[in-house]
Amino acid sequence: MKNAVQIYDVLLRFYPQSYREAFGAQMRQTFIDHYRDVEASEGQVSMGFWLSALTDEMQNILRQHAAIFTEGDGFLKVTFWKSVVAAAFVLPLYVIFYLLLVRLSLALPHPPVSGISAVLALAAVLLILPSVLSLMVSYVLASALIRALSERRVRHG
């Protein structure tokens, strides 16, 4: 029982902090009640119990992380104006990250690579990394800017 609860506690750590604060203790207690019931009625807890518990928790963990972008008045909630502002930041940020990564890759010692690994490394440096970084940073910047503007508007009536 103690080990089972420890495993469940590890699973709970994967939830967003706000969700964990609101529901973590209740979820833990419900898990204990359920586990105790299964153990009492079936003698032992099967792999099936763990498999369905893990699958269900993993799905909800992903859902709760995605909810940060879609629900409530969260900092990163996707809105039309945030997307517009973020779109304006993307290109300049892409150029900055691209130049930084090229510079960094030139400064690092080059292991002898050829063929597919060279192409993949090049793609990562020139396309994937700067794109992902610029999208993420532009969205956070847009969220911060819009929040600052709305707070300012509230302060000044």
């Binding site: 979820m27 269900d56 963990i61």
Partner: protein, 117 residues
């Protein structure tokens, strides 16, 4: 309220479980199993993910913490007026759908035989 309908199966079953009185998480889970004749086995994640959404939508509310026989405190939930309305509307939708199925003579023979018992 129309935007809340149709309810997801998880939300419908939680509302149905709470229609019989205030319950804590594990009691809801067990009631859902009983009401669905063991066909809906709601996991912890699905249960609390749905509870979070239902609290935000105003379908349910907290009914305080209470200690059980084992001295552990558990949070109880209850239906709100909006939750009751949503449940009634969803049940009506189900009943209307069954009427349509009956009208099309698509009602499964097995259920027909059961209904005559």
């Amino acid at each position: 309220m129309p935007s809340l309908l149709p309810l997801t199966p998880a939300v419908f079953h939680i509302l149905l479980a709470l229609a019989k009185g205030e319950k804590h998480g594990y009691e809801i889970m067990k009631q859902v199993r009983r009401d669905s004749q063991d066909t809906v086995k709601m996991g912890n994640g699905t249960l609390y993910g749905s509870i979070k959404r239902m609290l935000a939508d105003g379908l349910i509310q907290e009914a305080g913490d209470r200690a059980e026989n084992d001295d552990t405190r558990r949070k109880y939930y209850k239906l709100t007026r909006l939750g009751r309305k949503a449940l009634d509307a969803e049940m009506k939708r189900y009943i209307d759908t069954v009427q349509v199925i009956k009208g099309y003579d698509l009602y499964p023979k097995l259920l027909k035989a059961k209904a005559h018992l």
